[in-house]
């Protein structure tokens, strides 16, 4: 009987809710603000327990809900904040204000439902991935270091070049086509230790979201995806410090109020990976030495309830020394200043100025040939964004930005005495990109909503620069130079630009079912030049110039989203097709480093990528988790009028990130006595490779021939990880406790290939498989909190 009564009343409530709507509805307006900074929290959500009604905050943090009168239990939540529960009596139009307390990292065992449970159905955007930072820290990880990009690579449509390889690829796009934003500033490199780790400390990060498909017109400059990471704000209650130790790094974090309205958050990581390198069977890696650190600093000043000023800085540095001859060093530096001002409750202004730089240096230490090679990319940007909420169904956003790029593709100078190396310097490149956008999100009817945006960018490649002209109707080469033109400082050498329309549409077919579609165009004016399959420190950036037109991508996608059992289970199917223009390919044997006329070794390729992503996730109950399967293709073709430059005769061939089948399964099972079992299973098709397909003698030496690019595939990858963790707490309020985690990475010790290569020994060539983790890796971790 006790069970039936609430069920009965629920059915009653549900049956009468339509009638109630017709009778009378009152307006509930809730302003949700950060308890520390008093800044409005965009995207916060409100949920009425009694009626399951809900609404989401606009960019000004304002939630409006029309609801029948009554005594309501409302939950207000947002990513990175503790959920708040309040009882309200709705007997007139009500305006209330809620402050949400930022979730401290020390409490990350507290599970927070940060989103509406049916967000995937109601949100107009598709192809979205949001990482939960507490979940990230509970995943089975290799070597106890939670890692943002490794967690993203378990999601549908996201892959990496291999275990321990740098960068990530989204829906058949290259690693340089992802716009990675840290507090709104782009990161040009995401790797520590040649790609083993992500260079952003997860302790500092509050929120990670990745858009795989068409993203808002507010963002541009990369054609494949948008990865946004925002760092936490310092708390203004008291000073807190924490530090931690993992097998790879030591970490610290401090935050607190400097004055009443000024808070600080500072943190850093220093790594000691040398003993891991020694375990590597390849002598060149085992005898290598490495070091890295990264640090974040954030100051937040809230002089009034309407105004917030924040300054964020980030710096990461790596050194990697190969035995004997070369020392690599790379640094990323990011600074962002932002002023947010709430002009009216429904009108917000953001002014941002930022700097992002990535610098590489290589020191050659061979006696007599000592040198230092340097390359860099620097971006300086300012932008204005205005968010206007007409009503809770219609929002408009407009903005403009201006970017100055400066790139040095290479410069080498002799170091020390008796070096025979002559100084060589490629003239730095500079360019200006300006953009303006308008974006609107409009709920036409409760069933139909859309987001439409238009972005316009204009790009100018600027002098000083000497540009070679080449004879028409012949391939670009040193022999076909017709003349050269010198452009002075600030003179425009080449312009590009155009419109980038973006559209997303949602049609709710049933209460728990929606159909979404999106289409959009993106443009990219900076290109990573790399002749290897993974991102390596030797790669450098290059601006689009006369011979390197901007990369353009057009993507359409369609998805069907279905929730079952009261949003406990989410099902999704998404299909996409992408057309890529002006992708960079390389002539055979291209010499890229310190090449003053790169156009002579680069080729323009056309690309296409398409795929279907199936996903299922279970969000409640003792067993939670998700599984996704992706069928995806990524193809390239070099179609030039010049036969000798075509790769594989100009036909489409699999790009080096083409990976048709991918299956990821993640599960967590809450066991009795505070034990948790979690597991990952990963399967994917091996990436294309080029095996020798012929041989001949040259001189007296046998030589292998590689006549067709990417015609073979390395063997498939599969791996199972498990972890048991035990929380020693008896209740949630206990302050001193520990967590044991016993994990096994690669449980059945499958030797997964990172690459296949061929070595000739004793007159025979043999194929070898390099496995980065060749066996199972058990680990025991004990984390103590006191």
């Amino acid at each position: 009987m006790t069970l039936r009564l609430p069920l009965f009343s629920l059915i009653l409530l549900f049956s009468f809710s339509r009638a109630a709507y017709a009778q009378q509805k009152l307006r509930l307006s809730v302003l949700v603000q950060d308890g520390v900074t008093k800044k409005p929290i965009a995207g916060a959500s409100l949920f009425v327990a009694e009626t399951h009604a809900g609404a989401q905050a606009d960019t000004a943090g304002l939630i409006r809900l029309d609801h029948a009168p009554g005594l309501l239990t409302v939950y207000v939540s947002a990513v990175g904040y503790l959920r708040r529960r309040e009882s309200l009596t709705l007997n007139r139009n009500l305006n209330v204000q809620f402050f949400l307390q930022p979730r401290s990292t020390y409490l990350d065992e507290v599970d927070v439902t940060a989103q509406r449970e049916d967000k995937n159905i109601r949100n107009v955007q598709m192809g979205q991935i949001q990482l939960s930072m507490p979940d990230l820290k509970r995943m089975p990880v290799v070597l106890g270091e939670p890692d943002i990009l490794k967690a993203l690579a378990l999601q549908a449509g996201v892959t990496t070049a291999g275990e321990g390889a740098g960068g990530f690829n989204v829906r058949g796009g290259r690693a340089d086509q992802n716009l990675v934003l840290l507090d709104g500033a782009p990161l040009f490199n995401t790797n520590h230790l040649l790609g083993f780790y992500t260079n952003v400390n997860p302790d500092m990060v509050q929120d990670v979201s990745l858009s795989k498909g068409t993203f808002s017109a507010q963002y541009g400059g990369r054609i494949s995806s948008l990865l946004q990471m925002s760092t936490r704000n310092g708390n203004n209650d008291a000073w807190r410090m924490s530090s931690g130790l993992s097998p790879v790094s030591a970490r610290f974090l401090v935050d607190g109020p400097i004055f009443k309205k000024l808070t600080l958050l500072a943190g850093g990581r220093v790594a000691f990976p040398n003993y891991l390198l020694r375990a590597f069977p390849v002598a060149s890696v085992a005898n290598s030495r490495a070091f890295f650190f990264d640090g974040n600093l954030k100051l937040t000043y809230a002089p009034s309830d309407r105004s917030t000023v924040s300054l964020a800085g980030y710096r990461s540095q790596d050194t990697f020394k190969f035995p004997g001859d070369t020392l690599y060093g790379w640094q990323s530096t990011v600074g962002t200043a932002r002023w947010s001002y709430l002009i009216q409750p429904n009108l917000q202004l953001n002014l941002t100025a930022l700097y992002s730089g990535y610098h590489l240096n290589v020191d050659g230490i061979t006696p007599g040939l000592t040198f230092r090679f340097q390359s860099f990319i620097e971006q300086r940007e300012s932008k204005v964004d205005v968010f206007y909420t007409l009503n809770h169904k219609h929002k408009i956003q407009v903005g403009t930005n201006a970017i100055l790029f400066r790139i040095q593709t290479g410069e080498a100078n002799p170091t020390g005495e008796n070096s025979s190396v002559n100084p060589r310097r490629i003239e730095p490149e500079q360019a200006r990109e300006m953009g303006a956008y308008v974006n609107t999100e409009w709920e036409l009817t409760p069933r139909i909503s859309f987001q439409a945006g238009l972005r316009y960018t204009v790009y100018a490649y600027l002098g000083p620069r000497t540009v070679y002209n080449y004879l028409a109707n012949s391939p670009v080469s040193p022999e076909t130079i017709s003349d050269s033109v010198r452009y002075g400082r600030g003179q425009t050498v080449q312009t590009y630009g155009g419109l980038e329309p973006r559209l997303a549409l949602r049609v709710q077919l049933a209460k728990m079912t929606s159909l979404k579609a999106s289409a959009g165009r993106t443009r990219q004016y900076v290109n990573l030049i790399s002749n290897t399959t993974a991102i390596t420190p030797l790669d450098f950036w290059k601006l689009s110039d006369r011979y390197v037109p901007p990369q353009v991508a057009d993507q359409v996608s369609v998805g069907l989203f279905q929730n079952l059992r009261n949003n406990a289970i989410e099902l999704s199917i998404e299909g996409y097709y992408k057309r890529l223009k002006n992708q960079i390919e390389y002539r055979f044997g291209a010499d890229l480093i310190l090449n003053p006329a790169l156009e002579r070794v680069l080729l323009q390729a056309a690309g296409r990528a398409y795929g279907v992503e199936f996903g299922i996730s279970k969000n409640t109950g003792r067993l939670t988790g998700q599984a996704n399967y992706t069928y995806a293709r990524s193809l390239m073709a070099v179609q030039t009028p010049f036969d000798e430059l075509r790769i594989n005769g100009g036909r489409y061939y699999p790009s080096y990130i083409d990976r048709p089948h991918t299956l990821n399964v993640q599960a967590r099972w809450a066991l009795p006595h505070n034990w948790t079992f979690s597991t990952n299973f990963v399967y994917y098709t091996g990436v294309p490779a080029t095996y020798p397909d012929g041989q001949y003698l040259y001189g007296a030496e046998p030589v292998q021939d590689y006549s067709r690019r990417n015609a073979d595939r390395i063997p498939n990858y599969h791996r199972l990880d498990v972890a048991f963790s035990k929380d020693t707490r008896f209740n949630k309020n206990q302050r001193h406790y520990g967590i044991w985690t016993l994990g096994i990475y690669n449980l059945y010790a499958h030797k997964n290939p990172y690459s296949i290569y061929f070595v000739r020994t004793n007159q025979r060539t043999e194929a070898y498989r390099l496995s980065v983790f060749g066996t199972l890796i058990p680990s025991i971790a004990y984390t103590i909190y006191f």
């Binding site: 390889a165 097998p247 069977p281 036969d643 095996y691 041989q695 001949y696 021939d705 971790a781 004990y782």
Partner: protein
């Protein structure tokens, strides 16, 4: 109170590994391969024409010699002269005109007409100039090798001309002495003969260099060959310094790059090692190998190997070696047994 988090983690072994694997290998159509050069030295000049053969991991991996026979091969200079290469059998073609000799600065191009009607040509390439080798300096080194722990490493010094772009290639060979017990010089003689064999060691590495970074400066201590020390005897080394074209330099870089694959992230994408000989009717059909137009300068050095002869470590190694019985040529093949002339 300041929370303090300590996470301890034990890792039981971290092992990346490398294993030999069997893989299916595609079979492709045979491609033409050319190997040869035309120089400023005296004729004859030789080229070799073959086809690529199938490759298999488990099969016999000696490239089956698929020779090109009956091809018509000729080389033309920029002034209307030409010379024919005559089929010698076994894929070898050789000039017989002793008056046609390469000249620095002249352009040359090769034409190959196969019996199936396919015509391959090279674009005219100018024979580059080459500065002389200033000196060759030997240095005794200890190598991480049980059989030949002591070697002389020979390096050259030359002066790069500032007025032109230069591309260099070096090859070298050296004569080193290997001993046996020998035989009496004649029946009943006490004197021992045939106990000293002058065996040849050749450079095997591709050794090319561009003056892009050092134009106009000396090229100092460019290592060209290592010759093992087997006995306390002098060594005799000859170094060939080639002036090669930019395209040939790029070919050698590609050749070197493609042969030095290790499977790491720094590996460049695999590519066929194609050169300058292209099917006139189908530009995507490029022969493997290169026909080089190159100038050569040579220099010899006689190394008395005093350092090795006075080193007790080298002496210890030399004395620890087994000395074969009888005529050293029974062990080391048909090699000179008297000091070669010219050094």
């Amino acid at each position: 109170m300041h929370p303090f988090v300590v996470s301890l983690l034990l890792v039981f072994g971290l092992a990346a590994c490398i294993d030999r694997v069997e893989l299916p290998i595609r079979a492709e159509e045979p491609r033409l391969v050319i190997d040869g050069q035309f120089t400023n030295e005296a004729p004859p000049y030789t080229i070799r024409l073959t086809y690529t053969s199938p490759f298999g991991l488990s099969s016999d991996q000696r490239p089956a010699l698929r020779v090109v026979s009956g091809a018509q091969v000729s080389l033309a200079d920029g002034q209307g002269h030409s010379v024919r290469f005559i089929d010698q059998g076994g894929g070898t073609y050789r000039t017989i005109d002793s008056t046609f000799r390469g000249q620095v600065g002249q352009p040359y191009s090769l034409t190959v007409l196969l019996t199936d009607g396919k015509r391959y040509v090279t674009k005219p390439e100018q024979m580059p100039a080459i500065p002389p080798i200033d000196s060759i300096s030997p240095r005794l080194i200890q190598a991480n090798n049980v059989q030949t722990p002591y070697r002389y490493s020979y390096s050259i010094t030359t002066h790069d001309p500032a007025s032109q772009r230069n591309f260099y290639r070096w090859t070298a060979y050296g004569l080193t002495v290997r001993k046996s017990t020998g035989e009496p010089c004649c029946f009943g003689c006490l004197a021992i003969c045939f106990d000293v064999c002058f065996t040849t060691e050749s450079s095997t590495q591709v050794n090319v260099f561009s003056d892009a970074a050092i134009n106009g400066n000396p090229i100092r201590n460019r290592a060209v060959i290592q010759v093992p020390v087997y006995a306390a005897w002098p060594q005799f080394v000859e170094v060939q310094q080639y002036g090669i074209t930019q395209a040939n330099y790029q070919f050698w870089k590609l050749y070197e790059q493609q042969r030095a694959r290790t499977g790491s992230i720094f590996d460049p994408l695999p590519a066929p090692v194609t050169g300058n000989l292209v099917n006139a009717a189908d530009p995507t059909d490029v022969a493997r190998g290169y026909f080089a137009i190159t100038s050569i300068t040579r220099r010899r050095v006689r190394n008395e190997a005093l350092e090795a002869r006075s080193s007790s470590a080298v002496y210890g190694f030399v004395n620890s070696q087994l000395v074969p019985q009888g005529d050293c040529r029974n062990t080391y093949g048909r090699v000179p047994v008297v000091e070669p002339p010219g050094w």
